[in-house]
Amino acid sequence: MLDNLKILYHQGKQYIPDLTKAEVPGIFRGRPVISASEVDEAKLVELCPTGAIQANPVSIDLGKCTFCGECAFAFPGKIQFTKDYKLSVNSRTDLVIIEGSDKPLELRPELIRKEIKSFFGGSLKLRQVSAGGDNSCELELNACGNVNFDMGRYGIEFVASPRHADGIVITGPIPANMAEPLQICFDATPDPKLIILVGTDAISGGIFEGSPALDRSFLDKYKVDLYVPGNPVHPLTFINGVLSLIR
């Protein structure tokens, strides 16, 4: 008993008191800011591994970006990644950051179904489906519930069965071999239900885009409620994104 207390005491205070204002340690590649300075745009577009960069005006699509940071290393005067981890949006086009824009990313209120806030504002149970996820986003989603981030404090939790869930959280580019299980899981979730795409691979296929092993047709059928970019997503990105959707 005493050594249990000692262990507890030695951990000190681990939880992050305010998840909406916490700062991430060290360097972080969050929301990019693109300056107006002149660069060789063709070269910039060419270097990106996933075709996330477009020229004239220069833009970065965070739904495709793997946050490798290479564009910012090659053109530091043009592109900079800020430490802003609030990257979630509910309109796919809002993930495209255009030259000269330095605004926080926000959800469009008119696109949030009206029942969402009243139904899920105090409690949200989610079923996670890894569909070709490489276990990096999965690790970070697990971390959302650990003693540091403790998203359970907002009533947000992952549950074991789609029957108990209010929505599904998809990670990974959706391989053909996972298309049917994903559909079955979604169908088993009672209405009203959310679809949340977590990580670049889920949003656009990421580096796997164009692979003949994928079947992303599920996403053509339904409206996505939240896009959470990252490679993997940071727990703070996920938690803040979900909070802005349900509160």
Binding site: D3, N4, K6, I7, L8, H10, Q11, P25, G26, I27, F28, R29, L47, P49, T50, T66, F67, C68, G69, E70, F81, Q128, V129, S130, A131, G132, G133, D134, N135, S136, C137, E138, L139, E140, L141, N142, N146, V147, N148, F158, A160, S161, G172, P173, P175, A176, N177, M178, E180, P181, D201, I207, F208, S211, P212, A213, L214, N231, P232, H234
Partner: protein, 499 residues
């Protein structure tokens, strides 16, 4: 000559690989493995060549730092005797060759599909209509688990045949995670694309797979990595090991409903991955390792930070581990649960922790040292019971050992070199092989270039490729309620297997 012998990360001309008749090829490779337990197969694969399928087999010796490579050419229309009927460790490699190219075997024990790849030979095979092995009997019932699991983890299907609570047999069917990695590594030609793919083979083993890719690529381009680059790779590998082993101990505690251990190990992982973020801007080290260069030189200031992280991690980790490993309720769940015998794991060709849990000294860091591992004094951590307890103990001890390695490394940090010459193109008609000891065990990447110096074949082998079968063996005759801790004690990769 029956094989050409190379060292880890060596490139050789494809034409120096002996081309044997199938009979000689079979005899040479199986006898290496049968006659010497230090030998095991690190890769065995096929690719289309002229009118047939060329097979390349790579057998590594745990002792003499050598990898023996030989090849043969098969005719699609013939049937061949299998390696697997002589030594089981080849069974999955042959299943893969069969699945990809339709090679027929006379006496393979079970040509069960490996991963239902998009480009498989028999396109009528689908993961949805796979007929599971069935045990029949009045008392027998089946339990199907997956592909989607209860936790936030990757998909795979487990089918249990049980007698009451007791598991008679568990069949594992994977493939749900197949994204076409090996195909994409050939198709996407930019180096940054390929490095990004390597980082995504298994997102819990970013340092492991990326190091294997980079070392292989540098070998093919004739680039000699400077000491600071090799230092970064080794440091990233050891930090990844500490982080993932700690996460696994947390998961084991969760599965025996030991809240304190689950919470404490869970939070202890945080400062380690946060350090990776301080170093490279990503908690799982994506973006850190690059061929021929680094954007994130390791500095004295980082060393001080890391030393401070380890100084506060270690006492808390040791205190928690003392408690866990003396707790009767934990030990009664861990001990003698999920046992795999030494004989079985040698037969299956297990690697990494799954080999070291029962007397097999197999660890690439010391048998085929890469990066700066040859500079480090080391004693392998070997256990002798093959149970959940052994696998948990290995993790605990390897964490403490990795901390000691890192402290040693931090005493002399190599000067960061200015970016040197640009990487040269890959050599023409070459084969290279790279072994890396990831936290799960041996990772093997192997590549062949064509006459224009482009990648013709790229083969990835995650340690899980061998070790999934060990999980299936470990649960036999255990209660089904012990499956979760058996599973966590191996914690194998789905995406690393399915590619």
């Amino acid at each position: 000559m029956k094989a050409v012998s190379i060292h880890n990360n060596q490139s050789i001309p494809v034409k120096s690989i002996p081309d044997l008749s199938y009979t000689e090829f079979l005899e040479a490779n199986t006898s290496l493995v049968i006659n010497d337990r230090e030998n095991h197969c690190v890769n065995y694969f096929g690719f289309p060549f002229e009118d047939g399928i060329r097979l390349v087999c790579c057998i590594a010796n745990d002792h003499d730092h050598l990898i023996h490579i030989s090849s043969t050419l098969l005719n699609i229309d013939r049937e061949y005797p299998s390696f697997s009927s002589l030594h089981l460790s080849f069974e999955k490699f042959e299943r893969e060759i069969h699945e990809n190219f339709g090679i027929k075997y006379l006496d393979h024990p079970w040509l069960k599909p490996v991963r239902f790849p998009f480009n498989q030979y028999d396109t009528a095979n689908t993961i949805a209509n796979y007929p599971f092995f069935q045990v029949s009997g009045e008392e027998i019932h089946e339990v199907g688990v997956g592909p989607i699991h209860a936790g936030v983890i990757e998909p795979g299907h487990f089918r249990f045949s049980c007698n009451g609570e007791q598991i008679l047999h568990m069949e594992i069917q994977l493939g749900y995670q197949h994204r076409g990695i090996e195909y994409l590594l050939l198709e996407k030609k930019k180096l940054l694309q390929r490095t990004t793919i390597a980082e995504s083979i298994a997102g819990d083993t970013v340092a492991g797979h990326t190091t294997a890719f980079i070392n292989l690529f540098e070998s093919l381009s004739g680039f000699k990595a400077t000491e600071d680059l090799r230092f970064s790779r080794m440091l990233a590998l050891e930090l990844e090991r500490i982080a993932m082993h700690t996460a696994d101990l947390s998961a084991l505690c969760t599965d025996i409903a030991y809240q304190l251990g689950s919470a404490v190990y869970g939070r202890l992982r945080t400062p380690i991955i946060n350090f990776l973020q301080v170093w490279c801007g990503n908690r799982l080290a994506k973006g850190l390792l690059r061929p021929g260069m680094t954007h994130f030189p390791f500095t004295q200031a980082l060393a001080e930070k890391l030393n401070a992280v380890l100084d506060s991690f270690e006492p808390d980790f040791i205190e928690m581990s003392k408690k866990l490993f003396s707790l009767p309720s934990a030990l009664s769940r861990f001990e003698k649960t999920g046992v795999v015998s030494e004989e079985q794991l040698l037969e299956m060709g297990c690697v990494g922790m799954a080999a070291r849990m029962y007397g097999v000294s197999r660890d690439v860091r010391f048998s085929h040292p890469h990066d700066l591992y040859s500079d480090i004094q080391h004693e392998l951590i070997i256990k002798h019971h093959g149970d959940v307890y052994s696998r948990a103990q290995i993790r605990k001890q390897e964490i403490i050992q990795s901390i000691a390695f890192i402290r040693e490394m931090l005493k002399s940090i190599p000067e960061p070199k200015e970016a040197g010459e640009d990487l040269q193109p890959m050599g023409k008609n070459m084969l290279a092989l790279s072994l890396v000891e990831g936290w799960r065990g041996e990772i093997c990447h192997c590549a062949i270039t064509d006459s224009s110096g482009e990648l013709e074949v790229y083969k990835v082998k995650d340690p899980s490729f061998h070790n999934w079968l060990a999980l299936a063996m470990s649960v036999r005759n255990n209660e089904i309620s012990d499956f979760p801790i058996c599973n966590k004690s191996f914690n194998l990769s789905y995406c690393g297997h399915d590619l």
